[in-house]
Amino acid sequence: MNHPHPPETSNEPLAPGQRLPESERKTFSPEAIAEIHAIMAQYPDKLAATLPALYIAQREFGFVSLAAMKAVAAAIGIPEGHVFGVATFYTMYQKAPVGKFHFQVCTNISCALRGAAQLLEKVCERTGVKPGQGPSPDGLWSVEEVECLAGCGVAPCVQVNQDVYDELVNEDKLVEVMEACKRGEYRPWGY
């Protein structure tokens, strides 16, 4: 799932009276545009702002939708195709909606040796979502299987949203983290 799903195609046109989803109608706020322009000024070439601007778009739009890519291209003044190419190359730009708490479970070799495969199954069981299949009905959880998170020494390693790593050796620890998410101790998606 590294490509965005187009909101409207010739095979599946919008029904009469149906509107595009919110993520496809939005544009950047003036603050976000100013932020992108400030980043552009830091580098010798404005193209270098593509990656940071896509992070800003992810924060503003919730995920990197097609409209978000177009907004980035317009804000920097570069071709839309370039932004699409970059956004689909990197895996940390989510091209589909994710939950409020996005669990990224590393299943690479060091983590797998210490039970990451079983942990991934537990995460899926507890949250009720499959990896890469969008958020749970309540919008709280989504799960992704990722490659090495450089936490091999504290394996198995899980990243919740963008800034928390945790040592999840057993199911109790996982439940603890999920409860902490619900209590609001972890930053929700969108930073």
Binding site: P52, V86, S110, A112, E121, C152
Partner: protein, 456 residues
């Protein structure tokens, strides 16, 4: 200001005798102490910025010569002498003034490697100091630190540390009265293993897809934004301040011949005390695994060790005594790599482990060169078929015939990296593959490295 994370890791960082003359503590000073990243702590307790003051009083060429004399080899994986790399940078001539850049490679994505994370977490000022010295030696205009996107909390920390250095006058205009302007910017990657390759990293830094470039021109001629650039690993740059403090000749005495200095080894997998250990180069592998990391955590015998991150060929029992430096590991048919040891005990099915590793390379291949894009994918498909009981005996020859057609035929070493584990597993554990094909089950019963829900 953002909150800096205060949660400690549960790694092991130290061992009895660490910090003595035999096991010098050069890179992991203060590891484990979460307040260690503050400038006053670094200056007062860890001889911080002493080396920088010394270097800024020397001629830039003399600094490069000092690093050359130390024999420091790049810690990213290839082991290229750092001083030599620095000397490739073109110098200013009266007719032509150049803009040079120093780029720090903090895109740590190699499975089994977690050393840069520790330096950035506990000792960011040592990296900043190393980058200032490197910038002075090559007379760079800017330094860029490229850090993988997952390390957001470390980026926040490094930016706070950079601000402290700026406030102290170590970065910015006219640094310490030398008339030299230099600043460091942090650039956040977005989750692509390939960006650890230096030209892919430069492409990513320019805001493009992280696809490796055709070489030549090498980065020293045409790098970031078309200007001469040197790319060094986090650990390489963090090793520069100790070199300047103690002198290159003194540093060269640590470690084994032609592989001087200390190196951070990360141990993960089936050991009692997984963690980060700083040891002189050339320390025997079984000393690290058995004595320091405590040996097998499960009580079963250790079957295989990957000595330097996932791309290095596996070693079996007869090579566990290998001294860990670039040359000795190469002589035993493996690589020094990035210094991450992955320890596997007897319960591990090598077919599963190889499949998991190859799946990683198939997923992370950038898709630019056909041998790697198609070859890794085919290796994954064939291994998947063997693992799931549908393998044929001729598949083993097919796998063996694929690797020479991938290795050395791609723009960057990712294709070679995929061949390392594949070739070594086939050579050293062929009986496990054959067992899988004949009996349709694992040789090591009960090995569960692959999840049933996983879907890349």
């Amino acid at each position: 200001m953002v909150a800096i994370r205060t949660k400690p890791d549960h790694h092991t960082y130290t061992f009895p005798g660490f910090g003595s003359e035999k096991f010098p503590n050069l890179l992991l000073r203060g590891a484990g102490d979460l307040n260690n990243w503050h400038l006053p702590v670094y200056e007062q307790q860890h001889e911080g910025y002493v080396a920088m003051r010394k270097a800024l009083q020397m001629e830039p060429v003399a600094v490069t010569d000092e690093v050359k004399a130390s024999g420091l080899r790049g810690r990213g994986g290839a082991g290229f002498p750092a001083g030599l790399k620095w000397s490739f940078m073109p110098k200013d001539t009266p007719e032509r003034k150049l803009t040079r850049y120093l780029v720090c490679n903090g895109d740590e994505g190699e499975p089994g490697t977690f050393k840069d994370r520790v330096i950035l977490e506990y000792n960011p000022h040592q990296l900043i100091e190393g980058m200032i010295i490197g910038g002075w030696a090559m007379q760079c205009a800017m330094g860029y630190v490229y850090i993988r996107g997952e390390f957001l909390w470390l980026i926040e920390k490094l930016e706070a540390a950079l601000q402290q250095a700026r406030d102290a006058g170590y970065l910015g205009k006219n640094i310490l009265g030398t008339g030299w302007d230099y600043d460091i910017l942090v650039y956040r990657g977005a989750g692509a293993y390939i960006c650890g390759e230096e030209t892919a990293l430069l492409n990513s830094l320019e805001g493009r897809r992280g696809e490796p470039r055709v070489k030549p021109p090498f980065p020293a001629a045409k790098g970031a934004f078309g200007q001469p650039t040197t790319v060094n690993n986090v650990e390489t740059l963090a090793a520069v301040p100790p070199i300047m403090r103690m002198g290159g000749a003194e540093y060269a005495k640590i470690g084994s011949p032609k592989n001087s200095g200390t190196r951070i080894f990360g141990v993960s997998g089936h050991v009692k005390r997984p963690g980060i250990y700083e040891l002189p180069m050339g320390t025997p592998m079984n000393f690290l695994v058995e004595e320091l990391a405590g040996g097998s955590s499960t009580g079963r015998k250790i079957k295989a060790i990957i000595p330097g991150g996932a791309s290095c060929p596996m070693l079996d029992e007869k090579d566990f005594d290998v001294p860990m430096d670039f040359d000795n590991l190469k002589a035993r048919g493996s690589m020094g790599g990035s210094g991450g040891l992955i320890v596997m005990d007897e319960s591990v099915c090598i077919v599963q482990a190889t499949l998991r590793l190859i799946r990683f390379y198939a997923h992370e291949s950038c898709g630019q060169c056909t041998p790697c894009r198609e070859g890794c994918n085919w290796m994954q498909l064939i291994l998947h078929r063997i693992e799931h009981g549908q393998g044929r005996m001729e598949d083993l020859d097919l796998l063996a015939s694929l690797t020479p057609r991938i290795g050395m035929r791609t723009l960057c070493p990712l294709g070679d990296a995929a061949c390392g584990p594949m070739d070594s597993a086939l050579q050293k554990f062929r009986h496990e593959f054959e067992h899988h094909i004949i009996h349709k089950t694992c040789y090591a019963q009960g090995s569960k490295l692959l999840s049933s829900v996983g879907a890349h």
